[in-house]
């Protein structure tokens, strides 16, 4: 087990995904989006995301998660020698606040993290980049019709990202 996967395992334990339940796509998608949002707090695990129908997705993260599952079932226990340090735990605490589901309107946890990650990706990573908030919302709904009548939720997700400083109106890397 390399250091990267040791760190991934300890982080997944901390965010209650340590059992590595990967049998359905929705579970794998949930893991994907949470790691995406976690990386926004400054813990860079090296996973680079591309845009797909269900928003940002990183094939190498799925591969690492399955590999981790295999390593653990093969008896590798290298991760037992380590723990997350307090700085990492603090950042994880912030990540949990980012994806904490809103009280209302209600939304399934997986869809909420999908919404947060997709809005961020459309705003800051994807090309072509939409500049205005309205353009990004339009693009989101076009890519994900299931959010078509969920304006209030989209707005909430946008504000949540803004609250944590994840919406930057100045585009970088240009």
């Amino acid at each position: 087990m390399n250091k990267g996967r040791i760190l991934l395992k300890l982080i997944l334990d901390e965010i209650d995904l340590g059992k590595l339940e990967l049998d359905t796509f929705s579970k794998r998608l949930n893991l994907q989006k949470r790691i995406y949002l976690l990386q926004l707090t400054g813990i860079d695990l090296g996973y680079r995301y591309n845009w797909y129908l269900r928003g940002p997705y990183c094939p190498s993260l799925t591969q690492d998660a399955f590999l981790l599952e295999e390593e653990i079932s093969a008896g590798e226990e290298d991760y037992e020698e380590y723990k997350l340090n307090s700085r990492t735990k603090k950042k994880l605490g912030k990540a949990k606040e980012i994806w904490k589901a809103p009280n209302a309107p209600s939304i399934e946890a997986g869809s909420w993290v999908e919404l947060l990650a997709s809005l961020h990706y459309l705003k800051h990573i994807a090309w072509p980049r939409s500049v205005s908030k309205e353009d990004i919302f339009k693009k989101l709904v076009k890519a994900k019709p299931k959010f078509a009548d969920k304006n209030q939720l989209i707005e909430k997700a946008w504000n949540r990202l803004g609250k944590f400083g994840l919406i930057n109106n100045k585009l970088c890397g240009e």
Binding site: I6, L53, P59
Partner: protein, 463 residues
């Protein structure tokens, strides 16, 4: 009307004539692109295969050519009709390696382990882990983005033609939401070129895939998915098996791999001693400031240190390591375990035991063998399988696999014309090869035959 993509013709040993547009010719003529001539595609493979010293410059031209053949397939299917889109895809292919480091991944990821350690602490220690803040080097794709968007030569040529450099960077990174990601699939243009080029230049025949047959049998689905006609199934199988053999014969060759590990240690020491760029921030500054420094940041940047330290006559670690490279004194392989694991298979007892021994007993082995522990180096190769997903999971066993997860798999039409994943096709040999190759090796640097035998005895006694 003259074909705009035959403004200039370059003769290539793999593909024959490669046609270039006027814009592509201008890009190739920039100092930033010419730097690719000084980056070896195959790193230290030339220590074993003398002719394997071709450059990323040649490979980049080859990828441009393969991209053009794939674009032809799109156009035969009435897609990619916009000339500007074609122009962008070709340029992204041409520039896809522009951000590579001296000796590529050896330098690029040199600080990654130390960076990951920043988040961890040992369980039995009161310490909070390293207090040092580690700022790792940017990945080559990020470096590429900086080159395209900050350095004047390429940026100005693109802008003059109404092409946004950031859009080309997005295509290289696979972040373009509208144009197809030709560089990010199992049947990707990068891999098709390097397998054949590596094979030709090493003389190892296993990588000689049937490029023409593959490229002539490409078909494009409505959602821009690239699939192969059923009659090209054997060629696709050959491609995947070839890749596996090339890993065994060239990329993980015991001497090539040993030399690369020595160089990795050299780079780590140079970094520790402040001889090379000390952080990602410094690299980003160097790229962005648009000076000659980046043009000198090629294999020769590390070679000069290897030459300097390798010429010294002392017993410093760096001297010994650099001498091994400079004078081609291969590290001696003391022990190796190779596992070829079936899906879900556990590594062999031999593998687990050897790995545990390396983690816990290396210092002791060194002491008993009277050799500096830093001269005993062990490493595992990255796991290699036949298809992107199969080493880790049988996709037929996972519920509701989605587009995201299979995009990197090769797809072939079945007899009814329906595209299926080759790895799921029961008529394909790939379906029966869900295997993962794992290799772990221990080397000793700068030792004679007698010392090598002593260390071998010491290690064997522990396994």
């Amino acid at each position: 009307m003259q074909d705009p993509y035959r403004h200039k013709i370059i003769i290539d040993p793999v593909h024959g004539d490669i046609g270039l547009s006027e814009l592509e010719t201008k890009l190739i003529d920039t100092p930033t692109f010419q730097r690719l001539r000084k980056l070896k595609q195959l790193g230290f493979a030339s220590m074993v295969y003398p002719n394997a010293s071709y450059s990323r410059f040649a490979h980049s031209l080859g990828v441009l050519h393969v991209t053009n053949r794939v674009i032809d397939a799109f156009r035969r299917n009435n897609q990619l009709q916009n000339e500007k889109d074609v122009e962008k895809l070709r340029i992204a292919s041409l520039l896809h390696d522009i951000g590579h480091y001296p000796y590529s991944h050896l330098m690029e990821y040199i600080d990654w382990d130390r960076y990951i350690s920043m988040y961890l602490a040992k369980k039995n220690s009161a310490k909070e882990g390293t207090n040092q803040s580690v700022n790792p080097y940017p990945e080559h794709t990020k470096a590429g983005r900086l080159i395209l968007t900050k350095r004047k030569d390429i940026k100005e040529i693109l802008k003059e033609k109404g092409i946004e450099p950031a859009e080309i960077a997005a295509l290289i990174e696979g972040k373009h939401s509208e144009l197809p990601p030709l560089l990010h699939r199992s049947l990707d243009v990068d891999r098709i070129d390097y397998l054949v080029r590596d094979s030709l230049n090493t003389g190892v025949p296993y990588g000689r895939i049937d490029i023409d047959y593959i490229l002539n049998n490409l078909d494009i689905t409505e959602n821009q998915d690239i699939v192969l006609n059923s009659k090209a199934r054997i060629s696709a199988e050959h491609l995947l098996v070839s890749r596996y053999f090339m890993f065994n014969a060239v990329y993980f060759h015991k001497t090539v791999f040993g030399f690369e590990e020595v160089v990795r240690r050299i780079i780590l020491h140079l970094l520790k001693e402040g001889k090379i760029y000390s952080s990602g921030k410094e690299i980003e500054q160097m790229i962005s400031e648009d000076s000659h420094k980046f043009l000198d940041f090629h294999d020769g940047y590390l070679d000069k240190f290897i030459d300097e330290y390798g010429a010294k006559d002392d017993d410093h670690l760096l001297t010994i390591l650099c001498k091994a490279i400079k004078l081609r004194r291969p590290p001696r392989m003391i022990h190796e375990v190779v596992d070829l694991l079936p899906q879900g298979g556990r590594p062999s007892t031999e593998y687990v035991l050897f790995r545990s021994c390396m983690k816990k007993e290396l210092d002791d082995i060194a002491e008993k063998s009277k050799i500096r522990s830093e001269l005993l180096i062990w490493r595992e190769t990255p796991d290699v399988g036949f298809e992107a997903m199969s080493p880790y999971v049988g996709i037929s066993k996972v519920q509701d696999t989605q587009e995201e997860e299979i995009k990197q798999l090769i797809r072939v039409k079945d007899s009814s014309g329906k595209p299926i994943n080759l790895v799921e096709d029961e008529k394909s040999i790939i379906h029966y090869l869900p295997l993962t190759l794992k290799v772990i090796r221990l080397y000793a640097v700068g030792v004679d035959k007698k010392k090598e035998e002593e260390i071998k005895v010491e290690v064997k006694g522990r396994l």
